[in-house]
């Protein structure tokens, strides 16, 4: 038990808690139409995707240890997140 507590006492556990909170938050936002937000159209979808890409970055940097990986790999992953977020947001907002 002591070992399990030791292994859980990492930044990854905090990251996991933040990811769970963000997941529940965006699920709630996606399911419930907030008054006044109906007119925003693709705005809510784009926001939900924005949060998702922040989550992706957290998973990559903390869980996949990209934060400590060779810089070339980190650069590729950061560019991936920015490029995907941009393209998805544009395609959601133009419709």
């Amino acid at each position: 038990m002591v070992d399990i507590i030791y292994l859980a006492r990492t930044r990854s556990t905090l990251v996991w808690a933040a990811l769970v909170a963000a997941t529940i938050g965006t699920w709630w936002l996606g399911v419930h139409s907030l008054p006044g937000l109906e007119d925003v159209g693709g705005g809510v979808g784009a926001f939900v995707i924005f949060v998702a890409m922040i989550k992706v970055r957290f998973v990559a940097i903390h869980f996949m240890e990209i934060g400590n990986a060779p810089l070339a790999l980190r650069l590729i992953v950061e560019l991936y997140c920015v490029a995907l977020l941009s393209v998805i947001s544009i395609l959601l907002l133009v419709t």
Binding site: D3, I4, Y6, L7, A8, T10, S12, T13, W16, L19, V20, T23, I24, T26, W27, L29, G30, V31, G42, V44, G45, A46, V48, I49, V51, A52, M53, K55, V56, V59, A60, H62, F63, M64, E65, N68, A69, P70, L71, L73, I76, Y80, A83, L84, V87, I88, L91, L92, V94, T95
Partner: protein, 201 residues
């Protein structure tokens, strides 16, 4: 040989970024980045298809149950944390590493069970890949992802086997690290798929 070893270790602190470390083998990363690129293309293809008939996609999306997607996301996130703890346990030789990986496998199996329930629910309502473009994308994207979950479970089984060993070679540790990254990628892809298919409209 000993001279070589000594010169290798003495050269290490002089490297520009001595603490930077690639988890797993290079080949694993080629595979992971390739998979991420393929899924990125699929995400964009889905959204491009959506621009052709937004109303159809939005009305079809409302037939999905986001609660399944939510629980599946939480399962994969938790499995990822278990894998992180398992890798740390293996590398520091402390704690029950294999049990963490078994926990992650359990999460993967629960994800799969929910997928079976979800797909049968859709089928019972007559919703199949042939229904319309949205459901074609829905089944192809989630099905391809599910295939990766199944692959990941096999990798986790091998990681459990290694975690039970007392002494691991550097290659075996690299396999555990690379396998962990593959599993995290499965989690990462679902993090995008869930809002894209279930929430964004």
């Amino acid at each position: 040989m000993s001279v070589l070893e000594r010169s290798d270790t003495s050269a290490e602190p002089m490297a520009a970024t001595p603490t930077r470390h690639l988890p797993g083998e290079v080949g694993v990363w080629v595979f992971i980045l390739g998979d991420m690129a393929i899924f990125a293309v699929l995400f964009v293809t889905y959204l491009t298809g959506r621009t052709g008939d937004v109303d159809l996609f939005n009305s079809s999306q409302s037939a999905l149950n986001p609660d399944f997607g939510l629980v599946n996301t939480l399962l994969l996130l938790t499995s990822s944390l278990l894998v992180v703890m398992g890798v740390r346990s293996v590398k520091e030789r402390r704690g029950p590493g294999a049990w963490f990986f078994l926990g992650a496998i359990a999460c993967g199996l629960a994800f799969s069970a929910l997928k079976v329930i979800e797909y049968s629910d859709k089928a019972s309502h007559g919703l199949t890949p042939a229904t319309n473009d949205f459901f074609m994308y829905y089944f192809v994207l989630t099905g391809l992802h599910w295939f990766h979950v199944a692959l990941g479970i096999l990798v986790l089984i091998a990681m459990t086997h290694f975690a039970r060993k007392d002494d691991l070679t550097d290659q075996q540790v690299a396999f555990v690290e690379g396998g962990a990254c593959f599993w995290h990628m499965v989690d990462l892809l679902w993090i995008v798929l869930f809002p894209l298919l279930y929430l964004a409209h």
